[in-house]
């Protein structure tokens, strides 16, 4: 049973990925697309700089939701996201969420990941078994 109620805000996760985070994530994930790890290449194709991997930001959304279950990796049953604005290294990411529905031990959290005014992940919906 969970003590969450519809409309409750869940604890925020704040992370500032350092300059080399995209390189570490590339190694960890196997995604070496140069737009994430090569600043010159990124600028050549019209980006402001090398950008974060969308799936890294989704990983932070998963982490923020798993935290509601004390980090238990079994709790997250489903996660659906839309990638929107580009995520930038060296800028704080704030992951915030609101309880959308509660059905017994099944809880759905509406989640957003943002850098300042830019939403980098929107319409994220996490289904947890708590």
């Amino acid at each position: 049973m969970s003590d969450l109620n519809v409309g409750d805000a869940v604890p925020e996760l704040k992370v500032t990925p350092d300059k080399y985070l995209p390189h570490r994530y590339a190694g960890a994930s196997g995604d070496f697309n140069p737009i994430h790890i090569d600043d010159e290449f990124a600028k050549m194709v019209g980006l402001p700089r090398n950008i974060l991997h969308g799936l890294y930001s989704m990983g932070l959304v998963a982490k923020a939701n798993a935290a509601l279950a004390g980090g238990d990796p079994r709790a997250l049953k489903r996660l659906s996201v839309q990638f929107r604005g580009m995520g930038m290294p060296e800028q704080e990411i704030v992951v915030s969420g609101t309880v959308k529905s509660v059905d017994g031990d099944r809880v759905v959290i509406d989640t957003v990941a943002a850098q300042g005014e830019t939403q980098i992940i929107k319409n994220a919906e996490a289904e947890l078994e708590l």
């Binding site: 799936l55 798993a66 839309q82 990638f83």
Partner: protein, 146 residues
């Protein structure tokens, strides 16, 4: 020119991935996840897992490679230069632990044109060595100016 939809419904061969402790640790560390069940086999077993357990989004590590051949398939004919990852869904089943051998089968669910953009939707179904489903992924790639 209308968007090419020949690949809709097509399945590609399974790709297998052998899950290891060090790779799970590397992934968890990159995300700043510090639960010892991802790092320490003793802590993982105490929590009821066979071995060091993967965080849910480790799914990208074992299921993502199955999409490589799909994106380069001439029947799909996707313009990479104009492609962005638009959306992602994962639905998890059995937890994935070190020592598991995960097999992932990719399939093309739909290819549609909407407002001058191509929406390419692929599904990956990943099962472990016992045949239990561990994750089902839905990957939406958007190509501008089709």
């Amino acid at each position: 020119m209308p968007i090419k939809t020949d690949a809709v419904g097509k399945e590609w061969p399974a790709v297998t991935y052998q899950v290891g402790r060090e790779k799970i640790k590397e992934y968890a560390a990159a995300l700043g996840i510090d639960n010892p069940v991802h790092f320490d086999v003793g802590a993982a077993r105490e929590a009821g897992f066979r071995d060091v357990v993967a965080p849910p989004m480790f799914a990208v590590v074992y299921s993502g490679p199955a999409l490589g051949p799909v994106l380069f398939d001439p029947e799909v004919e996707m313009n990479f230069a104009a492609m962005v990852h638009g959306g992602q869904v994962f639905e998890w089943g059995e937890p994935v632990c070190s020592g598991d051998e995960i097999s992932t089968v990719p399939k093309c669910l739909s290819i549609e044109e909407k407002g001058g953009k191509g929406f390419y939707v692929f599904e990956t179904v990943s099962t472990n060595q016992d045949g239990a489903e561990v994750v089902r992924g839905t990957w939406t790639n958007i190509v501008r100016g089709v």
